[in-house]
Symmetry: C2
Subunit: 399 residues, 2 copies
């Protein structure tokens, strides 16, 4: 098959026009917004024009279906409230171009999908989770956005287009192309990342309970200061992590709520988030042990009460070996010495789809590592290199 880079870039820019922010190349296209629905109708027309069977499922994912069995390509075309123009849109349009070129060449059989609400207006990877059985439709229908609109209400806006869920047994595998969203490729001046694993995530909240007291009259030795407990715990956790973590392990204390949060009152309580990600379940366990032990030790040393919430977790997902090797071999031919194998630190629809079929992912560089911002971008030749690697991998897998 013969891909057409100009057609691919033109379609990418057309998709960008739906919800274009007017700030840089950014887009405002959250799931089920008017711009999102219009863009999905446009996608369905492109699928049909490419000779694929257009289809909308009950949760707003749009499909271009080829003859079964087929390989599935795609990602998501909804954006963050202030999103980049590529993000998941890149994987959808790359999938469209490869499926179209394959149709023109009389094969192989390639289908395309744009999953709905990967960006989490209603939670995150919402449509692919439902499709893969990670969450029931009944449960998901109760999810609400920040304005109280439920998923059930939102998906009514596409109900007039919707058919049934797609039978996953028609697909032999799923390949998702995406921007890296991190700095590794850009810093190394490489063109392609072939994903080895999507990292696992654990996310919990720690609460320290002390005594709320007068910040003038309460001597230091008499205090049970929750914020000082938090500072000690985070410091000690950082130190204890050092011998355990790898170069790609990350951890974040992104959320802090002190109480009563006043400069003249010794804080009686603080709740803070602890999130950590790694590709290795054993390491995730080791880090969790350190967190639990440190929090307890700090609380005991300072006479504080503590609570550790239930955690929200996603296990690491390894990419399918056959699909991954096809991507790696194609990357080496297309960009010799200019690609790397790497984990994905972000979640993707591929995480959910891995419950149904073999999955793999490839990344193109993010300039300065920026994503989820209007300033997100990737060099045009890197976009085309990514498309080329994807199409060559499809050829390898179907020959």
């Amino acid at each position: 098959m013969k891909i057409n880079p100009d057609r691919f870039l033109k379609d990418l820019h057309t998709l960008r026009s739906f919800g274009a922010s007017g700030v840089g190349k950014g887009v405002v296209r959250p799931a089920f917004s008017a711009a999102d629905i219009a863009s999905r109708e446009w996608l369905l027309a492109q699928f049909e024009a490419a000779g694929l069977t257009p289809h909308v499922d009950p949760v707003g994912s749009v499909w271009g279906l080829a003859e079964a069995p087929s390989l599935l390509l795609g990602s998501h075309s909804d954006s963050q409230p202030e999103g980049g123009w590529l993000d998941g849109a890149l994987g959808v349009i790359a999938g469209l171009e490869v499926a179209r070129a394959a149709k023109e060449a009389g094969g192989p059989s390639v289908s395309v999908v744009s999953f709905q609400d990967e960006e989490g207006r209603f939670g995150g990877t919402t449509a692919s989770s439902i499709w893969a059985g990670g969450v029931s439709l009944e449960e998901a229908d109760k999810f609400a956005d920040f304005e109280g609109v439920t998923f059930a209400e939102a998906r009514k806006s596409m109900a007039h287009l919707a058919g049934d869920f797609v039978d996953h047994s028609q697909f032999t595998g799923f390949i998702e192309m995406h921007i890296e969203q991190g700095p590794w490729l850009d810093q190394a001046r490489e063109a392609i990342g072939v994903v080895t694993d999507i990292v696992g995530i654990r996310d919990l909240n720690v609460t320290f309970d002390g005594d709320q007291n007068h910040a003038g009259t309460t001597p230091m030795h008499f205090r049970r200061d929750a914020v000082q407990g938090m500072v000690a715990a985070i410091s000690q956790i950082n130190t204890a992590f050092a011998p355990v973590v790898s170069e790609s392990t990350v951890w974040t204390n992104g959320h802090i709520t002190p109480h009563p949060n006043a400069s003249s009152i010794v804080p009686g309580q603080v709740r803070f988030s602890m999130q950590w990600r790694d590709r290795d379940t054993v390491r995730l366990d080791q880090m969790e042990r350190i967190i639990r032990d440190t929090v307890e030790a700090v609380a005991n040393a300072r006479g504080l009460g503590f609570k550790i919430s239930d955690y929200w977790a996603l296990e690491p997902v390894s990419m399918d070996e056959r699909l991954r090797r096809a991507l790696a071999d194609s990357a080496e031919i297309t960009a010799p010495g200019k690609w790397r194998a790497m984990p994905s630190g972000a979640l993707h629809d591929a995480t959910c789809v891995s419950a149904l079929m073999p999955v793999a992912m490839l990344f193109v560089p993010s300039i300065n590592g920026i994503s989820h911002a209007f300033s997100e971008d990737t060099k045009e030749n890197d976009l085309v290199t990514g498309l080329t690697v994807l199409s060559r991998a499809v050829e390898r897998l179907t020959n």
Copy 2:
């Protein structure tokens, strides 16, 4: 003169009935609330019955004036939104009892005051600040409470009672009796604290600016995480303070605002409060130097931007030597070996009044160091011991 402890305790309990919370002995009597105004009208009647000239000034402070020149006793009878029954009310009723006993004995000349809004519905030590010239009435009139009511509007509710400001030149000094609000006396089973100084306060905000980024795809070495900068700065400041501080020095990080405050986003900014108190200006300066140097060093080491706000400050106030010695001598006679000289870690009306005349303070114990809470309390015999020390000091100063 002969003080009457029963009459003193009865009046204290009557004052408590204005705004009694129904929870323990607590009161809800913020400045210019209906309960506060009713209690001030009751106080004026007690002043009159004691043979003092009742007077209300334009900012809601109520006065019982004796023949000039006189010694001024008192404190404040407004409370926190959830306040203790003693707090400033103790100093007002103790002043009333001593002035009344002095009248009955034909001298000395003792006046009494209950300042308005010490607890800060409109800022803190509001009426005594205005009286002492720390803030102009015009400026204070613009202060608003959390519901947007201005001081100008609030003080209209007592305007029908109000005369002019009181001429401070008629007073030879001011003695304020108060609960300690800290644990020192209660822990040591002592009855009286004679205040040496009211500590100075400095209060500023530190802001660290980093890069807001994806908590999955941004490697640790690439991050400029504002919250991690804060944790490092607070830890290092604690360590650097150790050789500089005294037993009574206190410092507090009571307020923290991270941005965007989400568990999956590397925090791009955090603002946190740093407040420190000590009786010694040199030490306050040393601590400030440590804070500024540490914040700058942490910012430089981590590639963060930083801002240090202007600070809000009150200089330490030394108690007048003659008044303080009268209190100390009376304490030693009344409770030999059961009193101590100590700084006040909290602000009081005496801080403001010190701009006008010699001031001194004495403390009675706070059970478990609790104040600004319904559970605030002091043993009855400690209350009477405090009253006795106050009356004896007045006799010493006027004989």
